[in-house]
Amino acid sequence: MRIGVFICHCGTNISGVVDVVKLAESISHYPGVVISKENKYMCSDPGQNLIKSAVKEYNLDRIVVASCTPKLHENTFRACLEDLGLNPYMLEIANIREQCSWVHSDNPELATKKAEDLIKMAIARVRFAKELTCSKVTIERRALVIGGGVAGIQSALDIANAGYHVTLVERTPSIGGRMAQLDKTFPTLDCSACILTPKMVEANRHHLIKILTYSEVEEVSGFVGSFEVTIRMKSRSVEMKKCTGCGMCQSKCPVKVDSEFDEGLSKRRAIYMPFPQAVPNIPVIDRANCRYFLEKKCGVCKKVCPSDAIDYDQEDTILKEKFGSITIATGFDLFDHSAYGEYGYGKLKNVITSIQYERLVNSSGPTGGHIIRPSDGKEAKKVAFISCVGSRDNKMGKPYCSKVCCMYTAKHALLLKEHVPDAEAYIFYIDIRAAGKNYEEFVYRVQENYRVKYIRGRVSKIFEEGDNLIVRGFDTLSGESIEMEFDLVVLAVGVIPRKDSDSFARMLNISLDANHFVGELHPKLAPVEKNTPGIFLSGSCQYPRDIPESVAMAGAAAVKSLSLFAKEFLTSEPMISEVNTSICTGCLNCKNICPYRAINEEEIKDLDGKIRIVAKVNETICRGCGTCVASCPSQCINLKGVSNEQILAAIEAL
């Protein structure tokens, strides 16, 4: 074992405090050290050449560099070793700048002593260094997109247009998502359906996109480049190949239940398409409400279907496929305002949510675009819009700003004025957050041109008096109490994570943030990536996002998939766990605690021919955290590059 130690002055950053020359001298006598040198800048070309010539001259096989933090130049020196034909992992860095000279400038003597200790520890560590190599992994060049809203559709289109296969999985009977429910979009007032429908059709027709509606991802295993995914295609009870989408079945079905698409403002049948422009244009039977499935009676849809597409015996189909990347575009849910006692616990009939209002104001919605109140069908002439319901509210456990409500509320008030010109609109708000392109101008237009009254103050109570609603608020700008009568109150309910986000995260083995949105790898620099390689985020699953942001994220997530697919192969992390199977007892403690599920059991044959179970590390999944190593009772699993021997040697070096 021939170790070389190279100590950097870093200009005077280190040598100004640590006596580098003396240190190089004393270290050179340390057992195992063949040569110890110092230089002004080790990371510079002359510094690296010094290392290279020393390696050649003294036939060194391991190197310690005492310099700045390994975060800066570990890779520089690894490359230097590689140039020399040495394994890049035969290197240790002693951090004597950030963790010594810079923080102990008050006491050069102790700093020098500490620097010596740090170098000794590095030497001890490098003595146990082993040659490490990466392995190559092939890539399945197909993408899975979970969620068929605008974010999912856009991601799928972007990937497919680049020439790769995409499977788009959507839980409901049609793609389209939340955007399909909206009436107009802010601030341009484009008709939401008019701009979304072409995208839905394009995705449906794309020869590289496979759309699986009424389907859910059930299980995900594997790793970047080859995720193994199980998808359950729930039985539609309608044969997709035969159905022409004529709609005869749903016009004759006798069962009526609340329409999810219209947020309970209208009824749909037990066999239904969620909305007329649904893609695919094929209905499903909701078995939980269908009379045939509940009572074995009826069967009307089968009788009236002209193309004999109804199949009551159809079963769920399980699909297992491999994908190289996964894009999560699962979207959001809306806050349930029945948590607010002061707003009537959801019991007041004329208090509706913003998404219900979207349906009301939509000309193809349940009222044909007439803004009428649910209690008596009277046109609403005086409407209060209340923002921040279930957002910016610690009491409700929703401290974050829901981001889109300020804008859609402004839009709602404007639409009221457009639909009912003599109506009065009041918006109760705390702050107006209109930071998008043309957003601020839009809000001013609503205030100035449409004369919508903005009242700065949170509403404290809504109650019924006769047919109308009394809203008790406070205008904090004028200091006046407000108690006003309204026909209709629209609550701007906040955007919340999907209610099943916890179980979804467990299934994908990914982390959520404090508010249970899907957490990103880095909030600034990697907003569409997960810390699990190969998993990307798009749209409101990450945080409340408006349409332009969702579309932008969708493109960004698609690029991440594409840059993965553009690679010839993936290399695995070299510093990962390995099992010494000869002493592994097969307790599988490691398997249970591995955060990546990288450890599985394996049967091996002993020398005497007996079969026994041992742990096996999947090299492509393991990320090298070492939790398994610290938990192995028989110390048979070790972390390459940060082995028990290396750490213990460092401890014992002093």
């Binding site: 607010y340 006692g341 002061e342 009537g344 616990y345 019991k347 109570k461 109650f463 019924e464 008096e465 006769g466 009394i470």
Partner: protein, 287 residues
């Protein structure tokens, strides 16, 4: 079950009728309320007390007294209940406040016993009303008025929905009455402004009476002597001030429970009410 009973000042003077009905009902149901011999005023409202340490010390005196017997304390006045219970909660939450208060009153506090309102006790003790009700309060439309202090802060009585409490409504429905849904259940009646600024009570209680009347109530049921005096004693003043006619008798909830349990109305001191409840009770064939 046995409880330490804290009647509070009002039940000893202006609300003897409330005290009597509590006594009648608990006797009938076998609930033993043992009055604490050495209780002190709870301070009634934090807004009367010049500083927090004193507003905690006053209820703490009673809590320390009750600690001796390790029975839960029962209060029938909503204000007393609120002061005792929120002090109890606060002292449990802030240990340094507890030490400070113990020093001030010169006694140790265990904060282990519970504080309950008589309404909760009725609810917990009686599981099967049907078998003990003699006379159902059929056709009586009541507006249950909880006031502000029974449910705040968070769930003082264990009722889940603090903005729309149901405990008294459920009790009334079990007794056979029809409790109406109305929005002023937990609005403040004006508390003690009755003396210092009576217009406040006339305005706030006026709105409560108006809402109850509008919602179709024939009477109001309360669980607090102060609510009672504001709604009952001052009702004629309120009527004059608002230029409205209400004529709404105001009952304490145990009074109606007593009637349903077959206790003779003559034992109930109903004659102490200012708005005469007799015509209504007669009309409903309850006496």
């Amino acid at each position: 079950m046995e409880y330490s009973y804290y009647p509070g000042c009002s039940l000893k003077s202006s609300s003897k009728d409330y005290a009597e009905s509590v006594k009648q009902v608990s006797d009938k149901l076998g609930i033993t309320l043992i009055e604490l011999s050495n209780w002190a005023c709870c301070g009634a409202s934090v807004s009367h007390i010049p500083e927090e340490s004193l507003s905690l010390a006053l209820p703490a005196l009673t809590i320390a007294e009750a600690d001796k017997y390790s029975r839960d304390i029962v209060a029938s006045c909503a204000a007393c209940f609120n002061r005792l219970k929120s002090t109890h909660l606060l002292l449990g939450k802030y240990p340094e406040k507890k030490i400070e208060t113990e020093k001030l009153i010169g006694k140790n506090l265990s904060v282990k016993i519970n504080v309950k309102h008589f309404l909760e006790v009725l609810f917990e003790e009686v599981k099967d009303w049907d078998s003990i009700i003699i006379k159902k309060l059929k056709g009586l439309k009541v507006a249950c008025y909880y006031g502000c202090l029974l449910t705040r802060p968070n769930d003082m009585i264990k009722d889940g929905k603090s903005e729309d409490p149901r405990m008294m409504d459920n009790l009334m429905e079990k007794l056979g009455a029809a409790s109406i849904d109305w929005p002023f259940k937990t609005e403040c009646c004006g508390t003690s402004f009755g003396l210092s600024k009576p217009e406040v009570v006339l305005k706030l209680s006026g709105r409560i009476l108006r809402s109850a009347k509008k919602s179709g109530a024939e009477c109001i049921v309360v669980a607090c002597p102060l609510c009672h005096s504001n709604l009952d004693l001052r009702q004629s003043q309120i009527e004059k001030y608002n230029n409205l006619k209400f004529d709404l008798p105001v009952f304490y909830f145990p009074e109606l429970a007593a009637l349903a349990l077959g206790i003779d109305y003559r034992n109930l001191l109903l004659d102490k009410h200012i708005v005469d409840p007799m015509p209504l009770l007669r009309r409903k064939d309850l006496i």
